[in-house]
């Protein structure tokens, strides 16, 4: 709830939500007021909550955001995902995985001169939609793609 968060921040952290986050290893002191993705966004357990924590409620769907990922990943432990934004003024690219216990996976800040396109690999717990959230010219946009996770066999 917002009011308890404000209260904790006012009292300078320690016990409460921040203490829990520090203990869980989700955040470190000093990162509390970091730029970009708010630290508590990583702790959120649903996409809407994470978007709210990122200040990105109700992002417009945009076809200018491309998610490059296989439709089927043999193993959810390593799923390659590339996100490319063709929106002018792209400042950040953020990846969320809906069905993961904590959907926010990674957030990238794109300075001027860097192409708005990143590739990485993530863990996906079960077949899930993945969301690419882009901040461009101060506004948020998104795209999504479904990735199926299979069980492989025992060899190979």
């Amino acid at each position: 709830m917002n009011h308890s968060r404000r209260a904790v921040l006012k009292t300078g952290g320690g016990a409460g939500v921040l203490g829990l986050l520090f203990a869980a290893g989700i955040a470190r002191p000093g990162e509390v007021f970091a730029q970009g993705a708010g630290l508590n966004a990583f702790a959120m357990k649903s996409v809407p909550e994470a978007l709210r924590a990122l200040g990105a409620q109700g992002p417009a769907v945009s076809a200018a955001i491309q998610i490059k990922a296989p439709e089927i990943a043999e193993n959810g432990a390593v799923v390659p995902i590339g996100i490319e934004s063709n929106l002018p003024g792209t400042e950040s690219i953020t990846l969320l995985i809906e069905k993961n216990p904590q959907p926010l996976a990674a957030s990238f800040s794109i300075p001027a001169g860097t192409e708005p396109s990143v590739s990485t690999r993530v863990k996906i717990g079960e077949s899930s939609d993945v969301y690419a959230l882009v901040k461009a010219d101060g506004k948020f946009y998104m795209a999504k793609k479904e990735i199926k996770i299979t069980l492989g066999g025992c060899g190979g």
């Binding site: 089927i72 390659p80 996770i149 299979t150 069980l151 025992c154 060899g155 190979g156």
Partner: protein, 267 residues
């Protein structure tokens, strides 16, 4: 639970729509494998392996740089593509791991028990063999498999390996051949190579070692055999044993003519 349902649904959809549509999940999985190929975490093991090869260790404070992997002391390039092979100084056919153990003992003064303490790694508990194998096999990437059968002991090892391949045993009455002697077999969605045919044998052998994403580890051919034995509920296939060498010799020789292409990346 959900994953199994999805896999079953994918398979069912494929089966209903016939051969053409069935290639769809396979094509997507091929895309998945391809996407992983660039930036193979195996490179992290290769870097460690190269450092280990050159590091002075053991009571003799020596590196492995004088180790003869079959092509001369210190010659690593192309060596893996000719293993297993007969080594006169040990009067024995050896695969890569056995030869490394030999050099660790002879050159570095390590005791056999200490050298073979950790054949396979787990997380931060690393196995030197996996790192060394990653680098040494990388030095055979692009080389044509060329395992010789010129020495009587090499022929003996091959024949023993062949017998082992077809030997049925264990509580499931399995042999390697049970899973690997027919085309188009699979376990769930994992294709099983037919190791009795040239193409299958070549593809299988030339893609180990591999970074296995399901474990987050670099696994060698010794590991693959060991794990197959475990899955068949066979007794433990001892690391660097004559049995493991024989089976490796059989499978490596059957891959002759193929281009070695590891370390690879696998599910």
């Amino acid at each position: 639970m959900m994953r199994r349902t999805m896999a079953a649904a994918v398979l069912a959809a494929g089966a209903v729509l016939g051969a053409a549509a069935q290639s769809n999940p396979e094509a997507e999985i091929a895309k998945y494998r391809e996407a992983l190929a660039a930036g193979n975490p195996a490179e992290l093991w290769e870097a460690r392996g190269e450092a280990l090869w050159k590091q002075k260790r053991g009571p003799k404070a020596a590196s492995l740089e004088a180790c003869d992997l079959g092509k001369g002391a210190g010659v690593v390039n192309g060596a893996y593509a000719e293993l297993p092979r007969y080594f006169a100084d040990a009067d024995r056919v050896m695969d890569l791991e056995t030869r490394l153990v030999h050099c660790m003992v002879a050159l570095q003064g390590l005791r056999f028990e200490d050298a073979t303490k950790r054949p396979f790694g787990a997380g931060t508990n690393r196995s030197d063999f996996e790192s060394l194998a990653a680098w040494i096999t990388a030095e055979s990437r692009g080389v044509t498999m060329n395992v010789a059968l010129s020495h009587p002991k090499e022929r003996e090892a091959y024949q023993l390996g062949e017998k082992m391949f077809y030997f049925r045993g264990g509580p499931h009455d399995f042999a390697c051949a049970t899973c690997h002697a027919e085309n188009s077999k699979r376990i769930r969605l994992q294709d099983l190579p037919n190791l009795t045919e040239k193409a299958g044998a070549q593809l299988a052998y030339t893609t180990w070692p591999a970074y296995r994403v399901s474990q987050g580890e670099l696994r060698t051919f010794q590991w693959r055999l060991n794990d197959c034995y475990r899955q068949q509920r066979f007794p433990d296939l001892k690391f660097a044993s004559d049995a493991s060498i024989a089976l490796t010799a059989f499978l490596a020789r059957n891959a002759n003519g193929a281009t070695f292409n590891a370390p690879a990346i696998k599910r």
